[in-house]
Structures are given as structure tokens and as C-alpha cells.
Symmetry: C2
Subunit: 150 residues, 2 copies
Amino acid sequence: MDDSLLFQMLHMEMAHALCAEQEKGLGALEGVGFRVGQGLSERLTKETPSFKDELDVLKFLCKDLWITVFKKQVDNLRTNHQGTYMLQDNNFLLLSQLSNGKQYLEEAPKFLAFTCGLVKGALSNLGFDSTVTAEVPVMPSRFPPMPYRI
Amino acid sequence: MDDSLLFQMLHMEMAHALCAEQEKGLGALEGVGFRVGQGLSERLTKETPSFKDELDVLKFLCKDLWITVFKKQVDNLRTNHQGTYMLQDNNFLLLSQLSNGKQYLEEAPKFLAFTCGLVKGALSNLGFDSTVTAEVPVMPSRFPPMPYRI
């Protein structure tokens, strides 16, 4: 069995449970992500020499952290060179169990709060305060789109 | 990095978050476990021929399910042959991050509720209603005890 399935299942059920009975559900989910991010960053950088610069830290997020949690690298990293970075994942693991469709798009924040906290917590452990937000323009397809033929 | 560390961290932070702000924290945690147990049991038994008897189902719990989630088999299985079974795990993964000591023993229910639900959910998926409880006589030691020498 895919070893990350247990993580995915636990994440999804935790998101439902925390959001079902709490007003502050999204905040609590983000808090869980924050502490997991801090812990993971601590473990993953234990034997790493310190980072040269901000971009080096971002590369750690996009590669080491992302692979550990989401089993793939970030697909695209952009920056405005003024301290704002955009990480793009075209097949985000924690949304891949949901079907695509507009009604699921509305549910998406529940499945992103943990990850926002995770990134924030990892950065915090490395000495950076940050604001992290997420957006989902389209839900990831489970399979690559088929080529269209007549 | 140990692949189950992410699961352990997420489980611990979820337990804190669900129990911190909710009266019904333990019930919610058990509910999360129940649904994960249902899902895992469904996946794990997909290609398994149906079970011969109750003992066969218990063996599935102690081996397949336990290894998938806790990375080891149950150490001991006992029964009174009247439908009551006792599964003993001498080095339970979800307690292994906690130090041993009486004060932690009191915290233990928070770290057992998910697993009670997990077993109940797995059994439910296989057609069995059950009551599942857990007890911790002593906290697992992180290392085997040293031999005593003068």
C-alpha cells in the first residue's frame, strides 16, 4: 500500500473533525500544521549546513520539505524579488483525493490550512516570520487530461 | 527520515488540537480513527479472500493493519474464547514519543482514542460490531532497559 495514504487519510479526517465542531477550525488546523512544520524543519535541517540566503531556504521548502510531506517537488517557484514567493504545485497531494468540480473548490480551504501552517512553521524554525496564503484556481485532475481527437 | 515520523507528528498534534478546544475531544479523535480504520481495512482487504472465522479477522488486525499503521506486529494476542480479545503491543508507536513517568500516563487516553477508533472502524468494515478499550499499565521505554551490574 502507498505509504503516504495513511497520512492523507488522517489529514482529511482531521480536517473534517476540527472544522465540524469548532468555530476556529481553520485556525486550529493551521496550528497543527505550524507545529508539524517546526518539528519537520528541525529534523530535516539537523545535518544541513546553514542556508546561504533566502532563496536557499525557499529551495529547501520546495524540495526537501515538499518531498517529505507531499512525495513530490513543487512544480514552480516565482518571486517578485521583494520578499514575496509563489510556490506552485500542479498535483497537490492533499487535494488529489477530492473530485474536481466547483462544489469541491469551495471546500478547498479546509484542505489547505494545514499546509499553510506547515510552511509557516518550517520558516519560523529557520528564523523567518511569514504570512502564508493558498489559492486553488482549479482542482487537480487525478489523471492527466486526454488529448482531444476527432 | 523515518517515513512514519510524519504520521506520528500529525497524530500527536491532532490529539492536542482536538482535545484542547473541545469537550468531546476524545470522541472526535475516536471518530477520526474509526473512519481511517474503515478506509484502511477496505483498501487492505481488497484483494484478500474473505476471512474464515473471527480468529482470522483478529490475525488481520494484529498483522496487516498493525504493520501498516504502527510499523510492527502486535506482540501478543489472547482470548477468553467468548468473543473477548486482548491485543498487547509492548512498544506502541504512538506512545513512544512520550517520556515515561506517571504524569504522562495520565495523558495516555488522548493518545489511545484514535487507535481504539481505528480498530473499531476496521472491524466495522469487516462486518463486526465491537467495543474497544485500551489501557497502559506502564509507558513503553524508548530504549531497552540496561542490564544491571555492580
